[in-house]
């Protein structure tokens, strides 16, 4: 089980669950957590191939992905706080201010 195929299947399942969460849910928190899950699946892929080729570049790329995810968390959560203060809802369908003309 602990060969390349097993790890690849697990990381593809995690990435797919994240994608399904992004395209099917409407709660903005769940969409954010699905994006985090997709990043985690790709990290698992990178670390798997680093072990497969016995080369540590993949692990360094995975660490940079984690740093970018931390920066994304700060910005995304402050945007969520701003939107929740003005709209009092977590629905993504009412956050369509940019797609309509303002009066």
């Amino acid at each position: 089980m602990t060969n390349l195929m097993g790890y690849s299947i697990v990381s593809m399942i995690l990435f797919s669950i994240g994608t399904i969460g992004v395209i099917s849910r409407r709660n903005i928190f769940i969409i954010y957590m699905s994006i985090e899950l997709m990043l985690n699946g790709i990290n698992l892929f990178l670390v798997t191939f680093a072990r497969y080729h016995f080369n540590m570049d993949g692990q360094i790329l995975a660490m940079m992905t984690i740093a970018i995810a931390a920066a994304e968390a700060a910005i995304f959560l402050s945007v969520i706080i701003l939107l929740f203060r003005t709209k009092k809802s977590l629905d993504t369908n009412i956050f369509n201010k940019l797609s309509k003309e303002t009066k």
């Binding site: 089980m1 602990t2 390349l4 195929m5 097993g6 790890y7 690849s8 697990v10 995690l14 669950i17 994240g18 994608t19 399904i20 969460g21 395209i23 099917s24 849910r25 409407r26 709660n27 928190f29 769940i30 957590m33 699905s34 985090e36 899950l37 985690n40 990290n43 698992l44 670390v47 680093a50 072990r51 497969y52 540590m56 570049d57 692990q59 360094i60 995975a62 660490m63 940079m64 984690i66 740093a67 970018i68 995810a69 931390a70 920066a71 994304e72 968390a73 700060a74 910005i75 959560l77 402050s78 945007v79 969520i80 706080i81 701003l82 929740f84 977590l90 629905d91 993504t92 369908n93």
Partner: protein, 173 residues
């Protein structure tokens, strides 16, 4: 043999946490499911003999990011009427499952063409903090510095976004 059993257990918990995350309607249960998934992925990193990545995953993901998510969830005081109503959630999940199948088939088929290799835990000269630091500061120095600039920009952006906007209100009055 033992690593097989650990691998199956950790993968089961990672996938079960992820499924919990997308099927629950209450956000705090979803956050706890994601926490279980992230910790299981940290265990898989340790099984791949990436000890420093195991540490970073636990400290940064489970320690910092998940704590911020749970803190914001409690801070916002979300009630039942603030949540969106999703009557067709299961239908959309099935449609998404069908849409995502072809790319999975493609990637698994292309990986099955690669030669298989034994992926035991190695003990020396791989994945530790010393080798990681040498690699990072010798070959990846410029991307590392750019990442620090990115984190600074994110810090300033979060402060600017979260501050109270009072000047505009006074002008309108």
């Amino acid at each position: 043999m033992i690593s097989d059993i650990i691998f199956i257990g950790l993968s089961f918990f990672a996938i079960a946490g992820a499924l919990t995350m997308i099927f629950h309607t209450i956000p705090i249960y979803s956050a706890l499911g994601l926490l279980i998934s992230v910790l299981s992925i940290a265990g898989l990193f340790a099984l791949l003999s990436a000890t420093f990545m195991f540490m970073v995953q636990i400290i940064v993901y489970a320690g910092a990011i998940m704590t911020i998510i749970l803190f914001i969830l409690m801070f916002l005081n979300i009630k039942e009427e603030n949540l969106p109503k999703e009557p067709k959630k299961n239908l959309y999940i099935i449609v998404g499952f069908i849409l995502i199948l072809p790319i999975n088939y493609l990637i698994i088929k292309s990986i099955s063409l690669l030669p298989d290799s034994n992926m035991n835990i190695v003990q020396e000269n791989f994945g530790g903090i010393k080798e990681f630091g040498i690699k990072l500061y010798q070959e990846w120095l410029i991307p590392f510095e750019l990442i620090s600039i990115l984190l600074l920009v994110a810090l300033i952006g979060a402060v600017v976004l979260a501050k109270q906007r009072t000047i505009k209100k006074i002008k309108n009055d």
